[in-house]
Every structure is written in C-alpha cells, then in structure tokens.
Symmetry: C2
Subunit: 278 residues, 2 copies
C-alpha cells in the first residue's frame, strides 16, 4: 500500500515537472539555466539532445517539425519555443524572486537592451565562422562597434554601476551566454576589447557577468573545444570534410580532448588532433 502511494506521488510529481530539451553548451539554453539558478528553482528536467544526429521523431512530433532548441514542455504537455519567450514564461510562472524588472520603465530599459541581443550574437557567430582572411578586420570592427553600442547604453542608464541595474538581472541573463561563447573569438581570432574608454563600461559589465556565480554552467575550455568546427565554418553539428566526428560530439567527452590548434585559417585539424577518434 505504501509503495503504491509512493508510486502515485512520484507520478504526480513527474507530471508537475517542466522539461527542457536542449543542446549542451547552447547559449540559448544557458539563459534558462542562469534564470533558474537565480530563482533557486531546480525542478526542471534538462534532456540532452545530440546536435550531431538527426532530431528524433518523438521530439519533432512535439515541436511540429521545427528543429531549433531549447524547447520547453510543461507538465501539461504544452510546448514553448524561443529562449526569450521561455525566459518570460518562467518569470511569469515563478515570479519570486524577480529576475526581470517590475517597474514599467525599468522593464522597458532591459527590453531595449535585450532588443540588441539578436544582432550582437549573430555577428559574433558569423565572425567565428568566417573563413576568408580578408574579411577578418571587417568582422573585428563590426564586433567592436556592437560592444561600443552596449557601452553607450550602459553609460546612459547606469554610468557608474556594475550591471544594468543594481543586480545581475534579465539583461545579464540574456547576454552572459554570448560573452562566454565569444571566448571562441578570443581563442581563434585573437579578439578582445582594446583597453580604451570606448569599451570601459561594457568591459566592466562583461567581466562581472561572466564571473557571476549563477552563470558558471560552462567553461572557456569547454567552449573552445566544442566550437572548433564553428571556427572552421561548420555550424549546428555539421560534419567537416575528412572528419568523421563533429567537435560537438558527446563522446569522447570534451575534458579528455586536447586544446584544438588556434590557427583556423591555414590548418585543418584531424579527428585525431582533436581527440575525437578515441
């Protein structure tokens, strides 16, 4: 009798659990992990999807054919897509402690900053994926201009502070995963913010963001190793010529692999060099 009650309770609990289908190290998924960490909410079941294999049928059925992740499934089987929409959903469902601003104007300020995230992230990804050495300087300049825009925005709204407002909040949740992915620019492109006044405020912000305890889901080593194929122009788990395994493969585990060669323009690393043949 007791075991039946326990089983029922577990099933009930199960039904009340949110599930997120995600790709490990995906920046859009890390946003959700950061938000949940800030809220101290741990009842979300994160299910890993292997980006290097075709999406399983059962998942495509849930998403009605779309392949973008993360996807959240509620305890009622409802599907929520798009990381910004999922963040809002989690904020609405679990309002305490608030991560987003509650005051309408402050909420609009973080909304304006978040409106820059798409272009900011897309540029960094195009930059790391670029294969034409003649385009490097234009990509570097475009990246700097985008950081400068964030710098201006922070100067306008919180010139002397650390974050956009008093604490690590929604804008930080949205941008930090990109700041961490952009370790691939540092490694493969030698990109960093020059020590100039034009970037001083955004540098302070970025450094505080990546150091925040709620945002430690990934490491620089992990990003650099997994994103090698992006640096060679192959995104989303696609396979490069003469390679049998993507750098995003779950096995061998990234920690056991060597750091990849930094030269993305002249050299094509083999499975062996990347520790992927084992």
């Amino acid at each position: 009798m007791q075991s039946e009650a326990v089983r029922q309770k577990a099933a009930e609990q199960d039904r009340r659990t949110l599930t997120v289908y995600h790709i490990p190290v995906c920046p859009f998924s890390q946003r959700l992990e950061i938000l949940l960490t800030l809220k101290g909410f741990h009842q979300v079941d994160f299910q890993v999807v292997d980006i290097t294999r075709p999406r399983p049928e059962w998942l495509l059925e849930k998403t009605r054919g779309t392949t973008a992740l993360p996807v959240l499934e509620t305890e009622k089987g409802e599907i929520v897509k798009e990381s910004m929409v999922i963040l809002q959903y989690l904020e609405d469902r679990f309002p305490e402690p608030a991560v987003a601003q509650r005051d309408p104007y402050r909420h609009a300020v973080e909304g304006m900053m978040n409106a820059m995230e798409g272009d900011f992230g897309a540029w960094g990804y195009r930059y790391v994926m670029n294969q034409d050495p003649d385009e490097r300087e234009a990509f570097r300049q475009g990246m700097l201009d985008r950081y400068a825009r964030l710098n201006d925005f922070l100067l306008e709204h919180n010139p002397s502070g650390m974050y956009l407002f008093e604490d690590f909040g929604l804008a930080e949740t949205v941008f930090t995963p990109f700041f961490m992915r952009f370790w691939f620019l540092e490694y493969y492109e030698g990109f960093d913010l020059p020590p100039e006044e034009r970037y001083a405020r955004v540098r302070k912000w970025r450094d505080a963001c990546v150091a925040h305890p709620a945002a430690q889901q990934v490491t620089k080593e992990q990003i650099v190793k997994l994103y090698y194929d992006y640096a060679k122009g192959a995104g989303n788990g696609a396979l490069l010529p003469e390679r049998s395994r993507s750098s995003f493969a779950l096995e061998p585990y990234w920690r056991s692999r060597p750091w990849p060669p930094k030269d993305k323009y002249a050299h094509h690393a083999t499975d062996g060099e990347l520790g992927l043949s084992g």
Copy 2:
C-alpha cells in the same frame, strides 16, 4: 487667479502626457495606435516626424543619435524605443483592459507568434522593394511560405476560431499593420493568398484583423500612394533619380494625388504623374 490655476492645471496635465514621435503610416507606430485604441486610452500626444527630411537636432538629442521611430517619451522625459518594447511598456502602465494574455502559457503562445513578426515583415518589405523581375517568383514563394507558417501556428493553437485567442489581442496588434502594408504587394506585385487550404486559416485571421474597428488608422489608398517609392526600391523617404519629392512627403496630401501606375518594373513615374509637383 482662475487663469493661473488653469495654466497650472494645463502644465500639470502636460507633464502627465506621453508623447510618441512617429512617421505617419509607419506600421510600427500603428501598433501603438491600435493598442491605445483597444485600451480606450487617448492621452498620448502623437508628434509627426517628416521622414523625407533629416531628423531634427532636438529629436536626435532625445534618442542619443538613433533615427528609428517610433520613440515614446514619458511624462518624466524617459525615452522608450522599439515598438515591441513600447507596446509592453504601455501594457504595463495601463493594464486595464488587458490586450496581452495574462496566463503564462497563453502569453508564451502570443510571444511565439510575435517572434515571427520580424522575418515576416522584413520579407514583405524586401519583396516590394525588389527591382529584379527574375527574383519576383522567389519573393512570392517566400511570402507564401511565411503565411503558411502563420497558418500552421493558428491551426495548432486555435483551429476553428477567428483570432489567435478569443479576441483581437497582442498578436493581432503586432501583425495587422503588416497585413495592411502588404496591400502594396497586392497593388504593385499582384500578390494575394491563393484560395488553397494551406492558407485558409491565416486568410481568415488576416481578413478579421484588417476589418477590426480598432485598426482603421490607415487605408489601402493611403498605403499604395505613400509606398510608391518603396515599390521602386527607395525606402525611408530616400529620393529617387529625377524626382524632386518623395512619395512619403506630407504635402501635397496623399488624398489629393492620383493612384500611382502599377507597373513598378518598366515604368518610372514622375513627380507630375504622382501628383507630387503641385
């Protein structure tokens, strides 16, 4: 004494007024007008900015150099940009009657639909601005695919209804201005949704949206006349060769001008043909 009190009251009233700087017939501005109409809120001062002239200095000072409109200024002089952010701000400030959904999942559903608006709108604008006859079919097909995506989404969430939910709400506020702008595709490209099942649900939605009493800020005649220059490849009030006035000019008033020629590919209408020389 009484006149002093009146003056003070007026000044007080003034300070409590929101101002929107906008371009007449801009779809992003119409979103705000629709939302305010749905809320029955009329204390917003809409200030017209002439798109055919450089932005005035006082406005650039408010926006810190950005030229995109609409921009909202609060009674405290705070600036809010980006139509989606302004809609949220107005919803937060004036919550009754609600236009956005309040239930977290329903709010996420309208969020997912609104996440399609950027690509949907951008495609329609690129289509009308296309000058290469060989590209017409690809643009038409791309437009149809985007309508089909909306169709699927509506079928998933409200197969037999009219709107996304019971009433004209946030998603309708966001998409209706595009449905109305796309009258320019009907006129200059002969584009319409074919009478096929694939578009039946989105056609029903679109037709209900454009017919809604809260969305009657513009007319087809106005759109077709003002957007002639877009159909010839010149956006944002830019001047075409051998023309002295943009079709977006505030004078002569659009109503007094003739309907423009439909042929955008072979014919270049003069100021005179467009009723702009008067």
